[in-house]
């Protein structure tokens, strides 16, 4: 009598989510409609009566949101709970509350660990490959196009299955071990080193200020024309190489993170600095 979701239905539910999780995003239910579509095959298999199907669908068209790739673990957990509910081992109220409770942590883990850390690291490696070999610069993006979707798909499927098999207890157990914190710390350190290297390699800023004068050389008794007697950029870089790009980046970080400036506003600021630098550079003969 025990009802069980078949492998085929699980796969259908997985693919429904994998391709169409963002199709109808809006402010009212966020990914609610996509979630309902992902659950539809499962509901169809588990419940026989029309009323049961309707009430199950209704609880899944409500608000749902997560980082869609790591957050698919929610879908797995909900599949498990719906199965339990069909066997009368769970209540609809519990399903709804668990679903809502999972929104926060899965979004946070997905965004910080996968999207904000793993993707930049993979991109960095791929663009380093492109940069290192200009004749085969296509290699980097091609590598990314293969590694990222395939890797993410495998990860998502395994998380989905993990959620289904272990249910909510397994999820809590996993998060309580402390392993996740260690992993987050490690990935953060890895990301920071890489971002440091990227900042040093790609952010360029030069102080366009130098004093050029004709100098009288007393030892030889001749006038040397157009001698650079002061070069602000050279001086700064001899103290700490690339100090200006570093300060600029930390400044942008400060304004974005602490002062809550929008990226558009920051872009305007950078444009202004660029114009001022151009003006100063022309005025001091740096670009002439």
């Amino acid at each position: 009598m025990n009802k069980k979701i078949s492998e085929k239905t699980l796969k259908k539910s997985f693919w429904n989510w994998f391709f169409w999780h963002g199709c109808s995003q809006q402010a009212e239910s966020m990914l609610g409609m996509a979630f309902a579509q992902s659950m539809a095959p499962v509901i169809d298999e588990l419940y026989d009566k029309k009323e049961e199907k309707a009430s199950a669908l209704k609880r899944h068209t409500t608000l749902f949101n997560t980082e869609q790739q790591v957050g698919i673990i929610c879908n797995g957990v909900v599949c498990g709970l719906e199965e339990a509910n069909a066997n009368e081992e769970c209540t609809p109220e519990l399903i709804s509350s668990v679903k809502v409770a999972l929104i926060g942590p899965t979004s946070a883990i997905g965004d910080s660990l996968w999207v904000a850390t793993f993707i930049p690291i993979l991109l960095t490696i791929c663009l380093s490959i492109s940069q290192a070999s200009p004749s085969a610069s296509w290699l980097g993006p091609v590598l990314y196009m293969i590694v990222y979707p395939v890797g993410t798909c495998i990860l998502s499927w395994n998380l989905f299955k993990l959620g289904y098999k272990s249910g909510i207890e397994g999820m809590q157990g996993f998060m309580a071990t402390g392993r996740l914190d260690t992993l987050t710390d490690t990935m953060t350190a890895l990301g920071l080193i890489v971002v440091g290297a990227l900042t040093a390699s790609f952010v360029t800023a030069t102080v366009p200020f130098r004093i050029v004068k004709d100098v009288y050389d007393a030892t030889q008794g001749i006038v040397l024309e157009n001698q650079v007697i002061f070069d602000a950029d050279k001086m700064l870089n001899s103290i700490f190489p690339h100090v200006l790009p570093l300060l600029l980046t930390l400044g942008v970080y400060y304004l974005y993170s602490k002062k809550k400036w929008s990226p558009l506003k920051l872009m305007g600021l950078i444009l202004m600095i660029a114009c001022i630098f151009t003006f100063v550079g022309y005025a001091t003969g740096f670009y002439a």
């Binding site: 609610g32 350190a189 790009p245 920051l266 151009t278």
Partner: protein, 263 residues
Amino acid sequence: MEIYQIILIALFVYLGSIGSIVGNTIGWYTLGRPLVAALVVGVILGDVQTAMIVGIPLQIMYMGNVTPGGAVAWDLSYATYIGVTGAIVFGNGLDTAQVIGLAVVFAGIGGLVGQIMWNISYALNLPLNRVANKYAEAGETKKMFIPNVVMGQSIGFVCRFIPAIIVLTSMTAASAQADFATIIPGWVTIALGIFGGMMASLGMGIILSFLLKKKYHLAIFLAGFILVTYFSLSTMAVAVVAIITSILYYVAVSSLETKKGVA
């Protein structure tokens, strides 16, 4: 640009946008990344080399583009496809730094158009909830794809594809008038070059806001920085060093915790 090139690029703008029909894993997070977008545009327009020259700095600039809770600061797909296309179409006769600056400006324009369209589609999708609720009420499990995929994507496609066609067509028309390098004064191209170089700090600054959680994290960031400036390592070499270090760190910390647990 030929008509088929415009249509192809516009199609990829749509596919790479957030919530397109191929899903965010293949769309937004793969086709929408500037590194990949640059290659796609390069292949379509037959200039992979220029495309990759601007694609790498654009990727750095938009590295911090994360979408927490669906808040889209930039429509990355629009920004990069338009940016790279602009650099190739108008970049004739400019040097590398200036072409990059040009790409950054066009990416800004594209990103803005994209963001507007995103907000429009976000609003237009609202009534779909009524349709979904109607089907849910009737228990129609087989019809749940209609509001989500069919209707949601019709709106998504129209909001992405058509504006992209308009933007690309106007770019083509403008480029036919004159060469960019000849009509723009020298100081503008210099300012563009400086701007392009500095814009990379935006991407890095935003991504730092996700990673810098404790004060000492700044030291780790500096470690990566000086490996390049003082030790002249390439970013690839630093990435390898970072991966090795982090594996050792993970193993060390995990074994330490296990020992603590036993004691």
